[in-house]
């Protein structure tokens, strides 16, 4: 997968964030409401443990004659059977429990780091032995082991208990760290560090370890909770030193003095609640870490429903074309990521027309909005992506056009695949790994043609597979049993199963080798001849498009900046960007021209200056380029360009 592909396929704003914004977004997960709540709660406990006993100057062990007093101003949490102050006990208990938790977590983390990092980095036999050890400890039930170990201990002080807990609690972290280390070890920067001549120990400590911060932190917090809970359990059972005031110890005394039976809830409830709350606090922090590690978990503010299921309501669509050969028409489409005013305009007023049976190529680099366009056309945008305005009209054969963006969920389901199918670039990711090809092909038949019998479905599956050159016996194969090329063929077969009018190909061959790519392209073109569907072909590879497309639209910064027939565009590109692109790839034949490429970097959509977005990289820019946004205007028939250099200023006829 190329960088463009990644950047463009993931419906997230620009791949290269700018400094400030990115640092913020990097830690966005940690600033969520949940995480903050967790941090505040945890902070309160830490403060209570650290300073509580200093301010609440009562001796937790001091006896008094105030027996079993409910909470009062003298004893905020009430008193015990022997007149001890429960708040004082809880405060000291906070300290002790946290200490036990943190000590156990530190020990367990050190142990799991040692084992996990070594196993993951060194690999080989060391790895196998270490992971076997971790797995064995993981399978052996922890609490019974702790109970048994504690049963043998003569002294059951907090430290001893912490050591025992860490002995049983390290394996989970070790396992995760090993997996993480393995995956980081395969990353190029580790290879690069080795290639620089770094020593292994330095690589482990300075290259790998910092990248595991989130996982280490997460497993550290998890272990604290585990240790506090386990210590509480042991103390409650009387298997740990109950003369030190840990939360479990308080519960032990409360329980043995029949606190609940005598209605002394103030004695029994606070310690348990403390344990639950600190566990919750750490879990909430862990949510943030999870979201930090896996940004997909972040719940976007933009309501999921609005972007995905609700039809566009803003701005009336412009009347659709009346031309009969049109099958799909995109009119003034705007797609934003995020909400105004900070929204990123990924697709910014795109107009496109797809005629029946034609191949329309859409070329663009990362951040050009070409994949977003594909997702918008198929209404597959996920939050924070949202179609803000515009229309996408589809012409069923011989019928009135319908606006895809205004379809109800049921209409949309019926429209999808039957009329418009899509092929994504990564075949491996596009196929459901746990279902056979047959099931995955047949289920669209089941959904759209409920009347079909199983035999008919099977026959159709075999038919389309044969069509794309897949042996019929592969129908019962799982995706992982196929090569990359075969998977891509399977996807194409799947797309054709309902004979759609439009096929959207989003970088369908980028991940494949040149030879296989060529085979598959030929196959698609042959099928188009045969079946007559129209193709929207989205790619960053202009040279390929010129070969296969009838017409090409070139996108830059969310806009179409030039469109025309493939041959004309190749012969005489009019936009400086198109021209630059065409001089950016080496040719196989002909003289070796001097190739310059385009200076600068593709735009970051969040920081677009007014005027022509290409202006900063344009060698031919004139003064007005920094202020005036050029419109897409026809130059010759069927050829439109959005560049101030090619258009008279007064021309406002921007229609297709």
């Amino acid at each position: 997968m190329s960088a463009e592909a990644i950047a463009d396929a993931v419906p997230e704003p620009a791949a290269q964030p700018s400094p400030k914004a990115s640092t913020r977004s990097r830690f966005a997960g940690l600033r969520s409401a949940k995480t903050m709540t967790g941090l505040v709660m945890f902070g309160v406990f830490v403060l209570a443990g650290a300073f509580g006993p200093v301010f609440w100057r009562k001796d937790p062990s001091a006896l008094s004659n105030d027996i079993l007093q409910p909470p009062s101003s003298a004893h905020w949490f009430g008193t015990t059977q022997t007149g001890q102050d429960i708040l004082a006990q809880v405060l000291v208990g906070t300290r002790v429990s946290l200490l036990v938790g943190v000590t156990a977590a530190v020990l367990a983390t050190v142990l799991s780091l040692l084992v996990g990092l070594t196993a993951g980095y060194v690999g080989g036999l060391t790895d196998e032995l270490f992971s076997a050890l971790a797995n064995v400890f993981l399978v052996i039930p922890a609490l019974p082991l702790v109970v048994v170990l504690a049963g043998y201990l003569p002294t059951r002080g907090s430290l001893t208990v912490a050591v025992v807990i860490s002995l049983t609690g390290w394996s989970w972290g070790a396992r995760i760290l090993r997996a993480q280390t393995l995956s980081i070890r395969r990353r190029d920067f580790i290879e690069a560090a080795r290639a620089t001549g770094e020593r292994p120990i330095r690589i482990i400590l300075f290259e790998i370890l910092p990248n595991e911060f989130a996982i280490v932190a997460s497993s550290f917090l998890f272990t604290i909770v585990f240790a506090i809970l386990t210590q509480a359990g042991l103390a409650f059972l009387g298997l740990s030193d109950v003369t030190t005031w840990s939360w479990g110890g308080i519960l032990y005394w409360a329980q043995n003095n029949q606190a609940l039976q005598s209605g002394a809830w103030w004695w029994f409830v606070p310690p348990g609640l403390c344990i639950a709350l600190i566990g919750m606090a750490l879990a909430l922090i862990n949510f943030g870490i999870d979201e930090f590690v896996n940004p997909r978990l972040r719940v976007q503010k933009l309501a999921a429903k609005r972007a995905r299921q609700m039809p566009v309501t803003k701005s009336e669509p412009r009347p659709a074309s009346r031309r009969t050969d049109v099958v799909l028409e995109v009119t003034d489409l705007h797609v934003n990521y995020g909400e105004e005013p900070s929204a990123v305009k990924a697709v910014d007023g795109v107009d496109l027309v797809l005629r029946r049976g034609e191949v329309l190529g859409i070329a663009g680099e990362s951040g050009s909005g070409k994949s977003t366009l594909a997702y918008a056309i198929t209404r597959l945008l996920r939050p924070p992506g949202e179609v803000v305005s515009g229309s996408i009209h589809y012409w069923p054969r011989g019928e009135e056009p319908v606006d895809v963006l205004r379809m109800s969920p049921d209409e949309l389901r019926a429209f999808r695949w039957a009329e418009l199918a899509i092929v994504f670039q990564s075949a491996m990711n596009s196929l459901n790994p746990v279902l056979t090809l047959r099931v995955q092909m047949a289920d669209s038949l089941t959904a759209h043609r409920p009347g079909m019998s199983t035999q008919q479905r099977d026959a159709r599956v075999v038919e389309v597979m044969t069509m794309v050159g897949l042996p019929a016996d592969r129908a019962d194969a799982y995706p992982h049993e196929l090569s990359g090329g075969m998977r891509q063929r399977a996807l194409i077969a799947m797309a054709l199963v309902l004979e759609p009018d439009v096929l959207v190909l989003d970088e369908p061959t980028t991940a494949l080798d040149v030879v296989v790519q060529r085979q598959i392209l030929n196959q698609i073109m042959a099928l188009r001849e045969q079946l007559g569907f129209a193709v929207v072909f989205i790619t960053h590879d202009l040279s390929l498009l010129i070969e296969v497309a009838d017409r090409i639209a070139i996108m830059y910064a969310g806009r179409v900046i030039e469109t025309g027939s493939a041959s004309e565009l190749y012969r005489s590109p009019q936009h400086p960007y198109s021209d630059g692109l065409l001089h950016s790839f080496p040719h196989l034949h002909g003289p070796r021209k001097v190739l310059t490429g385009i200076p600068g970097t593709p735009p970051d959509l969040r920081f677009i200056a007014p005027g022509c977005p290409f202006q900063p990289r344009c060698s031919k820019a004139i003064a007005s380029c920094t202020t005036t946004m050029p419109l897409l205007l026809a130059t010759t028939k069927g050829h439109q360009v959005a560049c101030l250099l090619t258009q008279p200023r007064s021309d406002d006829d921007g229609q297709l």
């Binding site: 700018s18 690069a192 085979q519 010129i546 196989l588």
Partner: protein, 354 residues
């Protein structure tokens, strides 16, 4: 084309790399299934020249680069630098080796550690190889490196983290880091394939300039044979772990000999070919390297395969000075058949001028 008569900067002979499939089972059973990632690869890199290694993914070209960089131990073969054989994958000897042979990776986003600053990345090789004595010297050296890769003003980049930069900028930094050790040999593993089309050329031109100005010997690994034609003096084509054809780039692209090279060229995107589908007979895929085909590894897909191709691996045949291939079609032993040698496919053989 400069042909250097001095000792090659790097010479590799008969490189073999097998990766075991399963360690434990292998130990238990005493027999190991291995991936024959690289088999009998020899190449020569000369100072001031670019050698391209072209092939599909999985053909072993990246493995060759890592073998040369000393990142993997060799299963067999020798590597010599400046005439002296090297065999070290650890310790002082290894560091001495990597000081002379540096590598640029494919993925600029992945080859820089996200938790370290740019300055850190550039400082490390200087420290590891003892090239900068003090803080000021280190800083001066890093600034100079950034300027060398046209990242100016350099100061603006030093404190940044990788995620704050674009792919093109990152790749330049990766190059700067590789240059920090003042290497003799630069191994560039698909250095531009993950970058945007519009900035690829800038980077390739930078590399070409560095090769000239610093007298580097560069191995340029790519799947894009057209770029090899533009940037490399010599091009080698790899298929399924073996180099099957090599020669001066222009010669190789215009007059491909091996059926696979011909297939590769016919498959490559070519706007000049617009509207005409190239004849493509092949629908096969590269073989498994765990059990590679006997004989010539291309024979299952080769339209010209003969009996001998299925049993014996072809030797090297020199077609013209510097242009050689490994194919029975051109072998002296099968001289009789040369008459039937395939004409390169029509699209590839005709020269199109725009």
């Amino acid at each position: 084309m400069t042909v250097s008569s001095e000792t090659p900067a790097l010479e590799a002979h008969g490189l073999v790399k097998h990766f075991p499939v399963h360690r434990i089972r292998q130990r238990l059973r005493g027999r190991g299934e291995v991936v024959h990632a690289v088999d009998d690869v020899s190449l020569t890199l000369r100072s001031g020249e670019v050698t391209a290694l072209v092939g599909e993914s999985g053909s072993g070209k990246s493995t060759v680069a890592r073998l040369l960089a000393g990142l993997y131990p060799l299963t067999d073969g020798t590597i010599s630098i400046g005439g002296a054989t090297v065999r070290a994958t650890r310790g002082r000897l290894f560091r001495e080796h990597v000081r002379r042979v540096q590598m640029v990776f494919q993925d600029p986003f992945g080859s820089l550690n996200p938790v370290h600053t740019i300055a850190y990345h550039l400082r490390r090789p200087l420290k590891v190889h003892g090239l900068a004595k003090n803080r000021a010297a280190t800083r001066a050296a890093t600034v100079e490196l950034l300027e060398q890769v046209n990242l100016t003003p350099a100061e603006q980049y030093l404190a940044k983290y990788p995620h704050e930069l674009s792919g093109g900028q990152l790749q330049r930094i990766a190059i700067a880091r590789a240059l920090a050790a003042e290497p003799k040999v630069l191994l560039a593993d698909e250095p531009v394939s993950m970058l945007d089309v519009s900035i690829r050329l800038g980077l390739l031109n930078l590399l070409a300039g560095l090769v000239k100005s610093l007298g580097l010997a560069m191995l340029y690994i790519t799947h894009d044979i057209a770029s090899a034609r533009y940037f490399a003096t010599t091009t080698l084509v790899m298929y399924a772990g073996r180099v099957i054809e090599g020669g001066p780039s222009e010669e190789l692209v215009q007059r491909p000999a091996h059926p696979y090279t011909q297939l590769l060229l016919a498959s490559a995107p070519d706007p000049d070919r617009a509207g005409r589908d190239p004849e493509l007979l092949d629908a096969g895929e590269p073989p498994s390297l765990v059990n590679p085909p006997e004989g010539c590894r291309f024979h299952p897909r080769c339209p010209h395969a003969m009996d001998i191709c299925r049993t014996e691996a072809p030797g090297t045949t020199e077609l013209r000075p510097g242009h050689w291939t490994r194919c029975w079609l051109y072998s002296a032993d099968t001289e009789a058949d040369t008459a039937q040698a395939p004409r390169p496919s029509s699209a590839a053989s005709k020269e199109h001028l725009t």
